[in-house]
Amino acid sequence: MLHEADLSALWITLQLASLTTVILLLVGTPLAWWLARTRWRGKPLVEAVVALPLVLPPTVLGFYLLIALGPYGPVGGLSMALGGKPLAFTFTGLVIGSVLYSLPFVVQPLQDAFTAISKQFLEAAATLRASPLDTFFSVIIPLARPGFLTATVLGFAHTVGEFGVVLMIGGNIPGRTQVLSIAIYDHVENLEYVQAHWLAGGLLLLSFLMLVAVYTFNRRFMVVNL
C-alpha cells in the first residue's frame, strides 16, 4: 500500500493542483474573455504566449523559471527584497510554475466557449437592463458552463500530471515539494515497482474518471441547449 512519503506526495499534489486551478480560473477567465472579444491587432502575440507551454519542452520552462525564481532572478529577488525567501524549491514556486505551465489548458477552452456565445444574447441582456457585469455573471458564465468544466478538469489534471517543470523548480523535496509524478519516477529508479504501480494506477484511474465526467456532463448540457 501507500507509504507515508507517498501519502504526503499525494497531498501536496492535490493541494498544488487545486490551488493552481483556482488561480487559473480567476486569471484565465478575464484573459479568455478579452481574447474572445478583442479586435486588437496584437491579439495573436498574446495567444502565442498563452499557448507556448503546449509546445515548449517543460524543462525549458522549468529552467527559465528556476532562474527567475532563484535568489538572483527578478521574481526571487523581489521576494527577498520584500523580506521573503527565494521561491525556487518552494511550494509557492511550484504554484507559479504550474500556473504558467497549465495556462493554455484553462484559457483555450474558456476562449472557445466565450467565442461561441452569440453576440445577440449579450445585446438582448443589455436591452433588458442588465449591466455588462450583470450580463457576465447571469448570461455569459452560464452559457460557457461546458467550457468552464473542461477548463477546470484539464487545468487540474494537467497540473497533477506535470513532471519536467516541477522537477526543475521544485527540487523534489519529500514532504515539501515532492509531487506524485516525481514520486513514481523515484520508485521506478529504485526498482520499487509495487509502489510505482499503486501510484501510477491511481493516477490513471483518476484521470480517466475526470475525463468521463467532462464528456458526460458536457454532452448532457449540449443536448439540453442546442
Binding site: A126, L128, P132
Partner: protein
C-alpha cells in the same frame, strides 16, 4: 413627446445618414428594401451601435449627442430581435424573470404580460423547443416585462410561416390599443406595414426617402410605393352590417361606404381594407348600369405620368386617400386634372390581414 434622431454611421459598403422624428405613440414602421438601414437605425436607437455619431433625443431626455452616450442597459426600451434571442440556459419563465427582476418601473405585471401574449402553457418549457411563433411571443412578453417606454421590433414576423404570422399580428396590433406602448417596427413587407402601421419612415440606401402617415406615404406620387405595380391604398373603415341575402359585408369610412364579400367580422369592428391602384377607374357620373358595387365620390388631388401609356391619379374622399392607375388616353378624354370632382369605381377591395 417625440423621438428625434439625427444619425451618421459609416461602414465599408454602407453609410447611414438619417434625420427624422417619430411621435411617441402608435406604430411607426421603418420600411424599405433589405440593406436600406432599417435594422441599423433601430440598433442605433437602442444604443447597440456604439460607433454611430449624432444626436438622439427622446422626449426631453438626450440619449446621445457629442458628449453623451447612454449605454443600452440604461435606455428604457424593449427590443424584440428578429430571432427572438431567448436565453437558452433559462426556461421561458426564467427568461421572463430576467426582464422582470431588472425593470426599474413596473408598468405591466408578470401575469398580464403572460396573458396578453398567451404563453401561460409554455412557462416551464425550455426555450429551445418552442415554435417560431411561440418564441416571438415569449420575446414580446419578455420585452414588455422590462416596462419599456417604447418598443423596438426588428422584423419579428420575418422568420415565421404564414400561419404563425397571422397568429402573432393581433398581439402587435393590440400593443398600442390595449397597452398604449408606442412601437417602432422594422419590416420589408408592405402587407405587414399596411396592416399594422399608423406611420411609416421609408428608408433607402441609408437615407430617409419620406415619412408620414401610412395613407399619405402609400399614395404619395413621388415615392416608389405608389409607382410600383402593386401600389395599394388603405381605407380605415368600420363594419356596419352584413347582407345575408347576397353574402356581403358593409363597411363605412369617412368618405362613404364599401361592400365586400361577406367576412366573419363583428359589427363595429375597425378594419383596414386595401385598394389596388390598378383596380380603380374614374367616371364623371355614377352609372346605374354597371356591375361594380363600390363607387366613391372623390376629388382629384394630383396627377403624375407613370409611363408612356399610363398616369397615376391621387384622389381624396373626405379624409381618405386613394390611388387610381389609368391610361393617358382616358385621362385626356375625361380631362382628369387636380380639383375635378369625379367618381372612383373600385373593382375589388380586400381586407388586409
Amino acid at each position: 413627446m417625440s423621438i428625434e434622431v439625427n444619425f451618421q454611421l459609416k461602414r465599408r459598403n454602407f453609410s447611414l445618414e438619417v434625420q427624422t422624428a417619430f411621435p411617441e405613440s402608435g406604430i411607426t414602421a421603418l420600411f424599405g428594401p433589405s440593406g436600406g438601414g432599417k435594422t441599423t437605425l433601430l440598433r442605433c436607437i437602442a444604443g447597440l451601435e456604439p460607433s454611430v455619431r449624432g444626436h438622439l433625443r427622446v422626449g426631453d431626455t438626450v440619449w446621445q449627442d457629442e458628449r453623451v452616450f447612454v449605454p443600452p442597459h440604461k435606455r428604457p426600451i424593449g427590443y424584440v430581435f428578429q430571432g427572438a434571442a431567448l436565453f437558452p440556459h433559462l426556461s421561458v419563465r426564467g427568461n421572463l424573470d430576467f426582464a422582470l427582476k431588472r425593470a426599474s418601473t413596473r408598468r405591466i405585471s408578470f401575469d398580464e404580460a403572460v396573458a396578453f401574449t398567451g404563453i401561460g402553457h409554455l412557462l416551464e418549457r425550455r426555450t429551445t423547443n418552442l415554435s417560431g411563433g411561440e418564441r416571438q411571443r415569449v420575446a414580446l412578453a419578455r420585452a414588455l416585462l422590462s416596462s419599456p417606454k417604447f418598443l423596438l421590433m426588428d422584423e419579428p414576423l420575418a422568420a415565421l410561416d404564414r400561419e404563425s404570422k397571422a397568429q402573432l399580428m393581433p398581439y402587435i396590433e393590440q400593443l398600442h390599443e390595449t397597452l398604449s406602448i408606442p412601437v417602432l417596427y422594422v419590416s420589408h413587407s408592405i402587407e405587414e406595414v399596411a396592416h399594422l402601421a399608423d406611420r411609416m419612415v421609408l428608408l433607402f440606401n441609408g437615407r430617409v426617402q419620406g415619412s408620414g402617415l401610412i395613407s399619405e406615404m402609400l399614395t404619395s406620387l413621388s415615392l416608389p410605393l405608389a409607382r410600383s405595380d402593386n401600389a395599394v391604398s388603405v381605407i380605415e373603415a368600420t363594419v356596419v352590417e352584413h347582407d345575408d341575402n347576397y353574402h356581403l359585408t358593409c363597411l363605412r369610412f369617412d368618405g362613404g361606404e364599401i361592400l365586400l364579400p361577406r367576412e366573419d367580422l363583428s359589427i363595429g369592428k375597425s378594419v383596414r381594407v386595401g385598394v389596388h391602384a390598378r383596380d380603380v377607374s374614374l367616371v364623371w357620373q355614377p352609372s346605374e348600369h354597371t356591375s361594380i358595387l363600390n363607387v366613391i365620390p372623390v376629388v382629384v388631388k394630383e396627377v403624375s405620368v407613370l409611363n408612356s401609356a399610363q398616369v397615376l391619379v391621387r384622389l381624396r374622399a373626405a379624409n381618405t386617400l386613394l390611388l387610381a392607375r389609368i391610361t393617358q388616353k382616358s385621362a385626356a378624354a375625361l380631362d382628369v386634372v387636380p380639383g375635378r370632382e369625379m367618381y372612383a369605381q373600385v373593382k375589388s377591395v380586400s381586407l388586409i390581414d
